[in-house]
Symmetry: C2
Subunit: 78 residues, 2 copies
């Protein structure tokens, strides 16, 4: 999986775990809301400064947002 996609998924999961909307996260991190939306759709190549700023607001380590998680295995029905 591309690192942008890893980051996009982790960002969205951490934001939702924190109960924040994209607007609220954007406001707290001082980043435009459309930029957050683009990051969650893997459109942009974020800088590590932005990753760290978002991580701080989300109370996670920056490294957590780049962590590759095991892919969910889809079990065949039969």
């Amino acid at each position: 999986m591309e690192i942008r996609e890893v980051f996009a998924r982790n960002l969205k999961a951490a934001r939702q775990a924190k109960g924040l909307s994209q607007e609220e996260l954007a406001f707290r991190a001082g980043i435009d809301r459309t930029y957050i939306s683009s990051l969650e759709r893997s459109v942009y190549n974020a800088s590590i400064d932005v990753v760290d700023r978002l991580a701080t607001v989300l109370d996670v380590e920056a490294s957590e947002l780049l962590k590759r998680r095991p892919e969910t295995k889809i079990k065949p029905l039969c």
Copy 2:
């Protein structure tokens, strides 16, 4: 510690652990040698694509390169 400095230290440590010069890492990652040098001096704000490309060459996870390590405590002599 600023995330750029965290990345700079981890990058240098991972490069040295792999026994690579800046030139060799640059060549294998397809990145200019002076850029590697700048990253190790916290000059630039790397993108996550670059972090991942370097991590791949260094056989580590991209997240490892952004991990904050405990600071080394300097023990007073007396």
